[in-house]
Amino acid sequence: MQNEHTTIEFPPETLALVNRIIKRYPEGRQKSALLPLLHIAQSENKGWLSTEMMDYVAILLDIQPIEVYEVASFYSMFNLEPVGNCLIEVCQTGPCWLCGAEEILAHFEKRLGIKSGETTADGRFSLKTVECLAACGNAPVIQVGTDYHENLNIQKVDELLDTWQAENKNSHSNPYL
């Protein structure tokens, strides 16, 4: 799909996925595909939604850019600023807190040398607190990309971080693929 405002264009297999998703809704209701498309767009843009990317989504769905901005800014999974290659989301709500989520967060902060909401200087890791991930029986819980890591303790956090540092973890792959 060519357009005049942006040089962004999804690769053919992503565009095919986008078109399959749009067909799930009745004629003229293609805006319903906005949330799925924002997830895809974010994965195509290193884990965040630039204005240019949102404008491209508006073109794909034949809607106004403002209709994309107002939605992207409402939902907590969409990042409107750049994030690190690996975004670590730590649950902080009641059940996780009861089971030691604060210690888990503090350990991530210590190991990465950043606070929640920050990105490491080398751009490899971002840390963010999130609200209930609905896995309270296995608290404390974190999410990285589409993966949940549950029943965490300090040792498991160390093992995860060692692995991610060694493999240069990227958490922004297309969630559908």
């Binding site: 595909a33 949330l35 939605v71 907590s76 009861l98 609200e131």
Partner: protein, 435 residues
Amino acid sequence: MATKILLENIEAPGLATFDCYRKLGGYASVEKALKSLSPDSITQEVLKSGLRGRGGAGFPTGMKWNFIDKKSDKPHYFICNFDESEPGTFKDRHIGQLNPHQLIEGMILGSYALGARSAYIYIRGELFYVLNIIEKAIDEAYQKGFLGENIMGSGYSLDLYCQPGGGAYICGEETALIESLEGKRGNPRIKPPFPALVGLYNCPTVVNNVETIANLPWIINHGADAYAALGTLKSKGTKLISACGHINKPGIYEIELGLPVEEFIYSDEYCGGIRNGNQLKAVVAGGSSVPILPAELILKTAKGEPRLLSYESLEEGGFQTGTMLGSGGFIVMDHTACIVKNLLTFARFYHHESCGQCSPCREGTGWMEKILRRIEAGKGSMKEIDLLADIAKHIDGTTICPLGDAAAWPVSSAIRHFRSEFEEHIIQQKCPFTK
């Protein structure tokens, strides 16, 4: 052996595949329904079963279906609410992840009963990996002829799709979910009109919770009477209780409604007692929004009767001494837990999740969080306890959707039952539970 409807085969290896599910009797209810039952008779069966919405509100499912505008010539829609986000609740993920075909089977039954030709499963975006499991199961159901055109030669056709959310608790409210499914911000709509008349794309729509829908195949296979024979007078059937916090065996348990709370907490079949042999202090029995109860009131009602896991027993005593079954998110706290700090995490949650439409909720949730933050840090004053209670009172019942109530109830109940703990924070000028 207690009857299991939702977790009967949950440990069967490969249950998420069509072949395994089918071998265990899966999709029999769809065959029965499409061959021999009219849509109306399915609705009647669900009504007669006494099944109530398992998302938290507990509204009779058959009654909700009966509100659908049958005369409307617009398309009808059936939507599954898989936006599981109420803190303490993690039962629907279990079904979606391990037994997606039971959910699909229920979606076919509900869609057929409601005359829907398109149905959607709206699942919270964080659970994308579960969405992918369900989409794979949907593909299999299409290949085997249980979805798509002319299902099993019945003339009935149905398309079923998954839709991810974007991270918003409010989309668990059904009209916010519909807005979100239309590609908009999750702002709840003013009701009436209810979705049964004006729902998705302004068409007649029913939204049901995952667990509610997963019960439907059993009800059609075994009949409404068999379902209604389970449970208590006002709480029919079984319920998934997701138990977490300071217990020996956190997890998802299917109980027949009416099980004593004491047995649920202390029996090895369920929670296995409090961790480290500690004392039970408090329970939030139905997800973060329901009133917290101290140990003595969750084990026994104010009248001294054993408290049961049922809608009516948990509500016994109203909000003064009772609570609600809610979503079945059962959060247990032992004597080491700080009630104020736990409440602060809930207050922060509701502040974060308020959509911002209604002033009492938008402003009140943030205000309550600020005050709680002060009190918890030992910087609060005595009069702020009453101020907190007053703010909660003014949010309760003054908003478009129940998020306001959900934010207010934990605050007012914590002050009602644990006021001295708030006072301790203020007197000691620190959290008495910090080492």
